[in-house]
Subunit: 221 residues, 2 copies
Amino acid sequence: MERNRVSMATGSTQVPEVVVLRLPLYVRALTQMRDDGTSVVSSQQLGSRLQMTPAQIRKDLSYFGRFGKQGRGYNVEFLLQELGQILGLDRRWPACLVGVGRLGRAIINYPGFAPEGFHILAAFDSDDEHVGDKVGDLDVRPMALLKDTLKRERIAIAIVAVPAHEAQSVIDDLVECDVKGILNYAPVAPQVPMSVVLRNIDPVLSLQSMTYYLLDEDYEI
Amino acid sequence: MERNRVSMATGSTQVPEVVVLRLPLYVRALTQMRDDGTSVVSSQQLGSRLQMTPAQIRKDLSYFGRFGKQGRGYNVEFLLQELGQILGLDRRWPACLVGVGRLGRAIINYPGFAPEGFHILAAFDSDDEHVGDKVGDLDVRPMALLKDTLKRERIAIAIVAVPAHEAQSVIDDLVECDVKGILNYAPVAPQVPMSVVLRNIDPVLSLQSMTYYLLDEDYEI
DNA sequence: ATTGAACCGTTATTTCTTTCACAAGCCGTT
DNA sequence: AACGGCTTGTGAAAGAAATAACGGTTCAAT
């Protein structure tokens, strides 16, 4: 039973989560097309770019409004703007990181977040040995300062990069501090209340399902 | 008659991909249960651990065989072994990495792959500046050596960690060299032939769909 | 003007997934 | 050896999602 948030402009229609998961894909493709100088695109073109059927793209977009023009297609700039608004990409999203081990440091230094509006404003670690370190231009703080910092900096998103065995307890702390979204890099399937949005990043799981399809190949043992 | 794990590529029952994607989740939960000393588990228990219905778990498993015992549940050790065999986790998977920038280096040093059987045996970079560097205990090689190395080391899996604008061309090279599976960290949606299994790791996409659900919250602009 | 090719938005249809429900089997207890 | 509490495996039913189909609009070319 999925309790979901209230819709925005559209009102009554509940948008399936699979659809929401695809929107960022559209945003990315459209951005690139815009940068290539394309000003109008059809569901056909967008679909062949993303390997999906035009019907699916039109259907997905129709959950949110009518953005196209019959006979023409979609204005790239306009659609981008609309999708950005729908997804909340037209604003800054302050975030924090928990766990400044090797992975955490790589995440802080990853240059891909900021251009999309995701700004890591604080870093925490439960290990006193790391507290006080300088990572990027952040000072690593103790977990005790979590609540204060999140409130002061209006941080709603946390990125978790702690060892597997600490993940659930760290995530419990974050939930307790009213974090609304968690991007979890630890190889576990954490429990969170339904009001918190959880996304897992787990390359090992990806590989483990990949190998199923690789078994037929003649790379014998 | 027993349906064999390796022979089902063209076999009668095609297993839905969603099911295959869930198997690693089961493996992980079962592994942890085993380490906690649990020897028998019911679909009920496993389901509540993973937040899914018992029926789904039973159905998923039934695609591959009959592993449980009525009135008892599943023998953890046995089920783990079976799932490992089905997914091909009972063997070593040699892999290579392309792109030894910051992200690539973090991947090479990530200690989570090897324990699961994924071994990065070679690293490549198209930038001559990086070629010859020592990363972890790997020497960075030029792309020209790709084909030779993959063949010699029997590498079927490649991990791609190059900048977005290079990704498609690198992936084309890998396909050309008969790579069968690609784990792509570049923020693009690459095209690959159907015979190649592609998995994308993309934290930005995850965040961009997360924010949709965060908009209702009272973190107003 | 008129035609025709291109394309959207939406309803209808098909396909895919999940859940239900129950016969059949296991096990401890009496 | 029979009972009762559990649990699996599986068809059938229900629910979701993807695709097809089509009326209606746009625009360029004639």
